[in-house]
């Protein structure tokens, strides 16, 4: 195998390792919320450090590949998109930390059972499928992920309105409800990050930006 191909494989493997960490953090975050577990929240923080380390390492690898190998065509698209996928994965980790550290303080529950968990599960599924689309070079799956984002946005909207109602009805719940609003906002952002990853997968595979479909056919597209 050529040196360049070995390095490209290292890049792909590194992104998969980051994705694996991000998924593990999401899982732990869901559990931390359900179990009020500060131990699991601490574990999320530990994993975040690893994710940050990977980010620095892979950023450097991408720059080295660009500088030393002048990549073109699919190789260029993989590296250019990796430079965007890497920070998305890193941000997923940050959002998990934001959610997990609130796990001990959003109890006792004020939302009906399962509502918050469902948002977490939907988001987790989007991240997992976005990563699968990257690994399996699967354009159809990437498109499905992008479409799923609306459902998560809808769920987020419902929970947001519900939390507002709760705050209006009972001022004693305001603190918990405010934290929960931040929790659901962070989940919703993670789903956006999964969407962004799926868009990059489509760019890698098809060479055409999948972002901002409303601009398609306009002068900048």
């Amino acid at each position: 195998m050529r040196l360049f191909d070995t390095e490209l494989k290292n890049l792909r493997d590194g992104i998969m390792a980051m994705a694996g960490l991000a998924e593990e953090m999401i899982e732990l975050t869901i559990q931390a919320l359900a179990e009020r577990s500060s131990a699991k929240a601490d574990r999320v923080n530990e994993l975040d450090r690893q994710l940050d380390e990977w980010e620095l390492k892979l950023d450097q690898l991408c720059v080295d590949l660009l500088a030393l190998h002048s990549p073109a065509a699919t190789d260029l698209r993989l590296i250019a998109s990796s430079l965007k996928i890497i920070p998305e994965l890193e941000r997923i980790g940050d959002h998990c930390c934001n959610i997990a550290r609130r796990a001990p303080i959003v109890h006792p529950p004020i939302l009906p059972e399962g509502r918050l968990d469902r948002l977490g599960q939907e988001t987790r599924s989007m991240v997992r499928r976005a990563v699968d689309a990257f690994v399996g070079r699967d354009a159809a799956l990437a498109r499905a992920v992008i479409q799923s984002d609306d459902a998560v946005d809808e769920l987020y909207g419902q929970l947001y309105r519900e939390l507002l109602r709760i705050m209006l009805a009972d001022p004693l719940c305001i603190e918990r409800a405010s934290h929960l609003i931040l929790v659901i906002k962070n989940w919703e952002r993670i789903a956006d990050q999964a969407t962004n990853i799926a868009e990059e997968v489509l760019y890698i595979l098809e060479g055409r930006s999948a972002k901002h479909p409303y601009l398609r056919g306009s002068a900048v597209e």
Partner: protein, 260 residues
């Protein structure tokens, strides 16, 4: 650089249809069809022996020194057939200049190198010649470096300067097209950068076709890129497209170094 968002506004300068080039029994170019737009830089890339340089030479019929050569199909400049349109070959070579891989200045003074072409076409007036020489040397970004030593021999110049002198020599007869056959392959990166800047400036008024083995050079200077393989045109498109999203697998493999 042209991008997919900007429609082409320049007319076709050179048009090629179903062109074959045979050298004796050997078919060197096979069924080529493509258009080259005025005031654009078109790069020809491809592995050694794929016919890039041969293709370039067909535009000013410089290969006709060999009788074993047979060109068929259509090649037009401004809609007039280069081979059958009654174009005088000396006039064609004035309109379609060429710069080669290795700088090849005449063993004469810098001034005489540039004045050579205009003199050949009958220019005798000293003041006019002086003007032409200065203009050509300015256009080739050489004037400031040589204006005080125009009488010195061109062979004493650096390789990069010699190549720019060859460009000046080609420009002195006011060509419409400039063919460049690996113009930087014998130059260091600084001299290369100067020639590349020059190419981008010159396309304001010239149609440029450049053959290069340096893929990054093609990416940097050209608007269009054509990929040749075994005498065939595999793919031609905007350079930006070729280097990010080529349509053909062969182009992709060549650009990513996974060819063959």
């Amino acid at each position: 650089m042209l991008s997919p968002q900007t429609p082409e506004t320049k007319p076709v300068k050179l048009s090629v249809r179903n062109m074959d080039f045979r050298y004796g029994e050997k078919k060197v170019l096979d069924g080529l069809s493509l258009d080259i737009h005025a005031e654009r830089v078109t790069a020809i890339i491809g592995p050694s022996g794929c016919g890039k340089s041969t293709f370039l030479k067909c535009f000013n019929r410089i290969h006709e020194v060999s009788s074993a050569v047979k060109v068929s199909g259509d090649m037009q400049i401004d809609g007039v057939d280069i081979y059958r349109g009654g174009i005088d070959e000396v006039d064609l070579r004035r309109r379609v200049g060429m710069v080669f891989q290795k700088p090849n200045p005449f063993p004469k003074s810098i001034y005489e190198n540039v004045a050579f072409g205009p003199r050949l076409f009958g220019m005798k007036d000293k003041a006019t010649l002086d003007g032409i020489v200065e203009d050509a040397l300015r256009k080739s970004a050489l004037w400031d470096e040589v204006k005080d030593r125009l009488k010195e021999s061109a062979t004493g110049m650096s390789g990069g300067q010699q190549q720019r002198l060859c460009i000046a020599r080609a420009l002195a007869v006011n060509p419409e097209v400039l063919l460049m056959d690996e113009p930087c392959s014998a130059l260091d990166p600084i001299a290369t950068a100067k020639i590349e800047e020059l190419i981008v400036e010159l396309k304001e008024n010239l149609t440029i076709v450049i053959v290069t083995h340096n893929m990054q050079q093609a990416a940097r200077v050209s608007d269009y890129t054509a990929f040749f393989w075994l005498g065939k045109l595999i793919e031609m498109d905007l350079t930006e497209r070729i280097f990010t999203t080529p349509r053909e697998r062969m182009t992709e493999d060549y650009l990513t170094g996974r060819f063959g």
